[in-house]
Symmetry: C2
Subunit: 189 residues, 2 copies
DNA sequence: GAGCCTCCATCAAGTGTTTAATTAGCCGGC
DNA sequence: GCCGGCTAATTAAACACTTGATGGAGGCTC
């Protein structure tokens, strides 16, 4: 929080957050035990509480970490003409390459309906994503790479819903990819 | 389990399962406490364990209940020509009308990646849904109400992914509906 | 009264959190 | 140079409470 956090201290924090992140990925919030997090890093349980006063604050760290990870891939890149295509591919690839992130995102999304603090951040992330996506869609239409759409907002919502839905654990990765490719086809990308 | 379970006994079971169901809906698996379930029904904790030897078995009951609830709306109805449309509407309506069910489905879906018993059932449900959907799509194409599709399986997967994704808690119901309507438009329903 | 059902009391194993103490390194003054 | 205090970082050991589960005693109904 404060400006002067020593390098070693910052490292410890990251270690702890990352351990908790992995823990949540494989066991859900239900399976998150502060003791195990500490053990995985190889420190005493009290050390964990030295850096994160409460379990809640540790979860906060994980939330921040996961969101950061996700946000980076949301930033569009490549030539404007195929930014939309790149974007879809990138997000989908990320979710397949890092099932841990997909799992944690799922947990956080679900938790956001009960935890206002989580909700605020997750909501913000989705809002950003939605508006990014809408921008890409509009640009693609103006560009000519995409047939005109009535409601770019609704399309953006659909794309996001489809991506999130296709990363749910029961859908094996192949089916998820198929679904997204099918969406691209329908959209005319 | 056995054939002769008295009416009152069966009622108790249902009460307990339903209480657990509500509990999971509002607090996730993380927040499921057998004591609270028993308290909500108004019985002693030991009574709960009389009907459900373990917490796991209680969750099994909830799983069965939720799946049953979901499955009923999956059955297509109406005239064959607009069964597909009805189906989409029905599922979507269900998820909006019963946010509890959506929440529990989400929890179960996430849990299915860690719990083999849950996975088996949830997977089965999705498989059924997928093939039902594919059947509807094919019939609609043959019917003429839907333009020809290359891969009905992929389309079915997309529809399912979109529906599941649109019921995630952070998407407010209006956006979710928009997304599904947009999907209908794209599909040409 | 037999059998299904319910409760009281209790256990053992965790669970997040805290307390008091220890170590290591740094800095200023003598 | 070195010493005493200061702070950051870490630890062992518990604390207070929760949680799933049990055993045995009694009750209600047919």
């Amino acid at each position: 929080m404060s400006a002067r956090t020593s390098a070693i201290s910052e490292k410890r924090r990251r270690e702890l957050v990352h351990a908790a992140y992995k823990q949540i990925a494989e066991g859900g919030f239900e399976g998150l035990r502060t003791r195990e997090v500490a053990a995985e890093v190889g420190v005493n349980i009290a050390t964990l509480h030295y850096y994160f006063p409460t379990k809640e604050s540790l979860i906060g760290g994980v939330l921040e970490y996961a969101m950061g990870r996700f946000r980076t891939t949301l930033e569009p890149h490549g030539s404007p003409s195929d930014q939309l295509r790149n974007h879809l591919r990138a997000v989908r690839k990320l979710m397949v390459a890092q099932p841990e992130l997909a799992a944690v995102m799922g947990e956080l999304t679900l938790r956001s309906s009960r935890d206002p603090a989580v909700r605020a951040i997750v909501d913000g992330m989705f809002a950003t994503w939605q508006s990014t996506m809408r921008g890409l869609l509009r640009r693609a239409v103006k560009n000519g790479t995409l047939p005109a759409q009535q409601d770019s907002g609704a399309v953006a919502g659909l794309v996001i819903a489809a991506i999130m839905g296709s990363t749910l654990p029961q859908v094996d990765p192949k089916r998820g990819d198929q679904a997204i490719r099918q969406l691209e086809r329908l959209l005319g990308i």
